[in-house]
Amino acid sequence: MIDVDGLRKVYRVHEKEAGLRGSIRAFVGRRYRDVVAVDGVGFRVEAGEVVGFLGPNGAGKTTTLKVLSGLLHPTAGRVAVAGFEPRRRQADFLRRITLVMGQKQQLAWDLAAADSFLVNQAIYEIPDDVYRTRLGELTEMLSLDGLLGKQVRKLSLGERMKCELAAALLHRPEVLFLDEPTIGLDVTMQQQVRRFVADYNVRHGATVVLTSHYMADVAALARRILVIDHGRLVFDGDLRALVEQRAPERRLRLTLADRVERSDLASLGRVHRVEGLEVELGVPRAEVARVAAAALARLPVVDVAIEDVPIEEIVAELFARGRANAAPVGEDAGRA
């Protein structure tokens, strides 16, 4: 469904020093520099797959999505989505995809969402009966009752996002690009949006590519993740494989009745954290049961919990390693 090979995107930005002197200099002679946003990224996504893009700010996630949806022309490389070259933006391609941007909206601010929906119905050439069925389905899946007739600017952020999602899906696209779809939403609303995307994927077999800052989004939706950093792909694979591969340990959390010697803790595993009577130990996966039993036998344990290392930590470590291994892409930036 999606085939990307050697994708590279370079932006040319003009540079200006701060202050009056910088402004005068920029007026007389402009200096430009090239910023490499995406640097030789390649991957394939099969139809029906849900893939999550992870990466810090400015890593190139959003740029990649914008190239995939045809908004940006790639500087180099080959991109195919649903058999089309996105940058040509043919109508048949645009009818098959959608891009939901958490921070950009398509709904008219001063009108009701229903008004904008009718425009989409006409533009995407959706017959009346099909439109009614789909609108009914989306209303049910997203609990839109009572929202569609309200002026968009009077909706809450979460309500607006739900209406944006509905507007973006009325034409029932085969490929969904979701760029930070839950940004700024409260936890309940984030969960609702996640559940909806998962449902949509199952119901219609749609391919979903999403970026998010919230690890929970990605963990809940995507089995496969692409980790991108400084424009380069540093991991592509199963989320669980990432966790097992990068985190051979699990965390043993103990609540103690009394203080114990640090050496007693160290004999059980790697001491991660000691805060008062709360202790966190890193223990190899295979030995968790044995160590937990030993702890219960030897220490005044009130409570015990066994947890995985948070994915955030694993990914943060992955970024740190990627940075140490790869030549920073930013060095390309000197060329004017």
Binding site: G102, D110, L118, V119, D179
Partner: protein
Amino acid sequence: MSSRAWAWRKARALFAHAFANMTEYRAEIAIWMISGSLPLVMMAMWIGLAADGPVGGYAAADFAAYFLVVFLVRQATAVWVVWELDREIRLGDLSPKLLRPIDPLWGHVVDNLAEKAVRLPLVLLPVVGGMWWAGARVPFTVESLAGFALLVAGAWVIRFFQEYATGSLTFWTDQTAGLERVWFTVSVVLSGALAPLDLFPATVRSALAFTPFPYLVDAPVQALLGRLTGVELATALAVQAAWGAAFVIGARWLWSRGLRRYGAVGA
């Protein structure tokens, strides 16, 4: 549904949406209308100058008729798409529009026409009232009305696509607002919005004949006032058509080249 039926359906849906939007901005439209009242100021000035007798063949009532129709023509051909494009391209608001399987051009065209549907009824009132008050006489004939309608439509095409071309330059530069100011200043003087062009020296007039400016205001006004011969009307329409085609082609070319540079800022 056939593709023609869908095209009609799209036009209707876009118009309904734009019309609903424009009616939300009633106050803004009224303000824009008032900001286009320069011809009425010029009218007062020229009527004053003609108090002691006609100036260049124009009596006071002739000036009143001329400038009231100038006001009408400028209101009917008011375009602001350069500001829309400037904002959309710089801030990335163009992105959602580019995702739809319809050229963003059509949205802008329909927005403009919907605004006209709200604005023109409001404009006609002062124009007709002014004519009556000044005792101006407009010889309505089929030819003058048809010529006027065609020339106003042609002037709109030139204005709209000239701004679309200028707005498309935002893909390269953030100085499009300045460029638009230059065009605006030149066109106010040379289109006949400050003074009827037949008061200009003959050499200037013949030089202007090859530019788009006289056909933006002066030609449609003179057509409605019945002052153009058949040949003059046909010539005006032909020159307008040539300029219109040039601006349409230029705007489309700049747009398609510019899209390659689009940065899709934000989000």
